[in-house]
Each structure stands twice: as C-alpha cells, then as structure tokens.
C-alpha cells in the first residue's frame, strides 16, 4: 500500500517529453497522464521507446525536452525524496545473486528507510511465496522465483508510482495470476501502475488504459469490447501522425 508523505502525488503528468540519443530519437513529444488507482498498459514493438519512457518516469533518464510533473511538482523540485515514492521492476531484476532473498530485501529496505523492516521483509517473502527459500542465495533461484522476489523488492517501500518492465517474464500460470491479483490490490490501494509488456494474455482484463508507443510516439487507445492484442495490431496498422 502506498505510504503518504510530503513528497506524495496522485497523478503523473508527462508533457511533450522527448529524448534523443545523439541523432536517434527514442521519444518524440510524448504527453500522457497517469492517475492514482489505475493500471496502465504500455505496449509497443521493440525499440519503440518503452524503456526510455520508464527511465524518464523513474528519474534515471532526463528528457531532452519537455517535463514530467509528479502532482504539481517536477523531479528537481521534489528532490531525492521523490525516488522513495517510486518502485521500479526492471527488465534486469536489480537483485544481488550472492545475497539471499532476505538479505536483498533487507538491504534495499534499509536503503529506502523502510520502518519496521523485519516485519515488512517477512511479509514480502510471504507475498513472493519464498519463506522456505528466504536464506538461499538468489543466484540459485530460477527466473520465475527471481521475478517474484524482484517485484517485492520494488514494492517494499510502498511506492505511489509503480513502473514494471515485462513483469510476467518467467512466471508460470499460477504465479502470473497471483501477480495480476497483486497489481489489482495495488490499484485498489491507490497506486499508479504503469506496466510495459508484450504479454497480451496476462494483461487482458488487468489494464484500465492502453498506451501504445511506436517510433517514440505515444497514442492512447480505447479498447472497449475488443481484445488487447487485436486493438494493438489495428493501431500499428494505422497511419501515425
């Protein structure tokens, strides 16, 4: 559940954000709004700019032009404390293989200043269903187990903005269903969830809004009564201005 602090916000507003890497344009004047209590699906072909957008929202990447507002303030106005309101599950999982599951959670929890850390870590291990592997080194885990642990690592500090890059990778059907349930609980608790994925089956019925990126340009798609995969394919077949 998101923890309310002075650096809290209930919406994220991306305004005309562009990002260039040399002559390559990764994002081109992207504008979108993310609100508390919704799960937004971010779809697009490889190289469309999804990771760049997630990087900008996480504050790791600076936009070349445009701005991102967290509530009424920008990242520079909110300072370092803003990062305590953001949880990121990257494509790489941000876990230390030589540390155990418990040690990974304890390390990152301490770094984020999570109160009552022992109980929070135990609860997170329970959510990841890793109580019996809590003291095993992460290097010995399968991709699916690491994925479950990485999600708990990203959520341990109760972030308001949750950025997920391919969260269903490596998960079996049961784990994917549990992840979907977890994301719905986050949404109900008021988190802002942005999920980049190619897994339309898992995202079906989970996302409230659909944003499609192509060649660095973003477009919001309505999909009432239509399957996500069909809507996405139809969008890619259309002309993009």
């Amino acid at each position: 559940m998101p923890v309310e602090t002075s650096s809290d916000f209930d919406a994220v507003d991306v305004r005309e954000a562009s990002r260039h890497y040399g002559r390559r344009r990764a994002l081109s004047r992207v504008s979108l709004t993310l609100r508390a209590g919704e799960i937004v699906g971010l779809f697009g072909p490889n190289g469309a700019g999804k990771s760049t957008l997630l990087g900008i929202l996480s504050t790791l990447v600076r936009p070349s032009s445009g701005e991102v507002r967290y509530g009424a303030r920008t990242a520079s106005e909110l300072g370092d404390a803003l990062r305590g309101r953001i949880g990121v599950l990257g494509h790489d999982l941000f876990l230390y293989g030589d540390l155990s599951a418990r040690e990974n959670l304890e390390f990152f929890g301490a770094l984020y200043g999570v109160p009552d850390l022992g109980a929070r870590v135990q609860a997170a291990l329970g959510e990841a269903r890793l109580e019996d592997r809590a003291n095993d080194r992460v290097a010995s885990f399968s991709r699916g187990l690491r994925q479950r642990l990485a999600l708990e690592r990203a959520l341990l500090h109760g972030p308001r903005l949750v950025l997920l890059d391919e969260p269903f990778t490596g998960l079996d059907d049961e784990s994917a269903a549990l992840l979907a349930a977890r994301l719905r609980r986050l949404r109900d608790a008021g988190a802002i969830v942005l999920m980049a994925t190619h897994d339309f089956d898992s995202a079906e019925g989970l996302v409230d809004r659909l944003i499609c990126l192509r060649s660095g340009k973003a477009r919001e798609l309505t999909f009432a009564g239509e399957r996500l995969r069909d809507r996405y394919r139809r969008a890619l077949a259309e002309e993009w201005s």
């Binding site: 790791l60 876990l95 230390y96 030589d98 540390l99």
Partner: protein, 226 residues
C-alpha cells in the same frame, strides 16, 4: 547522516558479497603477488635490488591490482543492473559513490597489507624504518587512486569497452598520486632516508585526496544521470 548511513549500507553489502565469493580478493592478490614476483626476478641480483626499484614496483603493483579490483567491483553491479537500483534509492547519489569507494578501499588496503611486506622481503626494502609514515603514504595514495577510479568505473559501467577505457581515463588523472606515492616511498627506502621529503609527499597526497574526493562527490550525481 542519511548519506553516510546509505554509504555504509552499500559498503557493508559489498563486503558481505566479497566475503562470500572472495573473487576480488583472490584475483587482486594473485595478480599483485605475480606482478611483484616477476619484477623481483628482473630487478634483484644477488639479493640486491636496483636503487628506488622497490618503491616504483610497489606503486605499479598497487595501481595495476587496484584497476583490476575497480573493474570487477562494478562488473558485479552491472550483472543485474543493480547500479541503477542504487541510483534509484531516495538518498543523495553521492552516497552510492561513497559506499562503493569505502568497500573498494577496505579490499585494496587488505591486499596492500600483504603486498607491502612481500615487497620488503623480496627487494630488501626497509619497510620497518618509518612504518607509520609508510602506512600513511600507502593509505592516502590508495584513497586518491580509488577516488578517481571509482568515479570512472561507475561512469563506464554500461560502456562496451570499459576494460580498455578505465585505465586510459584513470591513469592520466591518477598519475600525480602515483608519482607522489613513489617519491615519498623512495625517500623512506633510500640508503640515506629523507623523512622530511616523505612527509612533504604525504602532504601532497592528502591534498590530492581532498581535491579528488570533493570533485567526485560534486560531480557523481549529474554524471550518473542519463
């Protein structure tokens, strides 16, 4: 206080990881001992080394083995992109730099605690003549070298040619530290020791450390933003 606490957490994590794998300690120590042995075969004749050779060989060994440790320490952070996770923590990014620097310093100083006596033994260097002064030279020289190296190793963590680029960037900047270390150590090891000169070189190393650490703390955050 929050910065120092975060730095300590990161350094402690690095030391726990190293205590388990011992990868850096073994590779760095093995490389440093090999280096000293090769130089000993080249420069020691009938138990006598060329004048000032011991000081130069000690610092070349410390620089080369330190470069190896720097590269490997950040390779660990690259494997699961954990450096990004550290940069996402809600603390000043200087804490990440300080934590990595502290962890590397502990490792490099532990290796040096073994290498200095070996140099003394193989090159008949009088390491007991002014042990505190020699220790201070080694510690301050290591801080200066690691301060610059940690900065560049972090910057290069996602570069394809990082193993080539790290020494190319590091050595030209760190060369004043190595020269000061060599001259200060040579002043202690000389047949007619000049401890005042060694103290002057030590003062210069303290100055370099202050400059390098301050500059690195100042620039680390902006440099690490993509």
């Amino acid at each position: 206080m929050r910065v120092l606490r975060a730095a300590w957490l990161i350094a402690r994590k690095d030391l726990v990881v190293e205590a388990r794998s011992r990868e850096l300690a073994y590779t760095t120590l093995f490389f440093a001992v090999s280096c000293v042995l090769v130089f000993a075969f080249a420069f020691v004749r009938e138990g006598r080394a060329i004048e000032d050779a011991a000081a130069g060989i000690l610092w070349v060994t410390l620089a080369f083995s330190g470069t190896l440790a720097l590269g490997r320490a950040f390779e660990r952070e690259r494997q699961a992109d954990t450096l990004r996770a550290l940069l996402l923590a809600p603390t000043e990014r200087a804490a990440v730099y300080l934590g990595k620097l502290l962890g590397l310093l502990v490792l490099m100083l532990a290796v040096e605690a073994i290498i200095v006596p070996i140099v003394g033994l193989l090159f008949a260097a009088p390491i007991g003549r002014a042990p505190l002064l020699l220790g201070a030279l080694v510690v301050t020289g290591t801080i200066g070298f690691a301060a610059v190296g940690t900065m560049f190793a972090a910057m290069l963590v996602r570069a394809h040619s990082r193993d080539v680029l790290l020494p190319m960037l590091l050595y030209p900047i760190a060369v004043p530290v190595i020269i000061a270390g060599v001259r200060g150590t040579a002043a202690i090891f000389a047949q007619e020791p000049n401890l005042e000169a060694a103290q002057a070189w030590l003062s210069m190393l303290v100055f370099f450390d202050a400059v390098f650490v301050t500059l690195a703390l100042w620039t680390f955050g902006p440099v690490m933003s993509e």
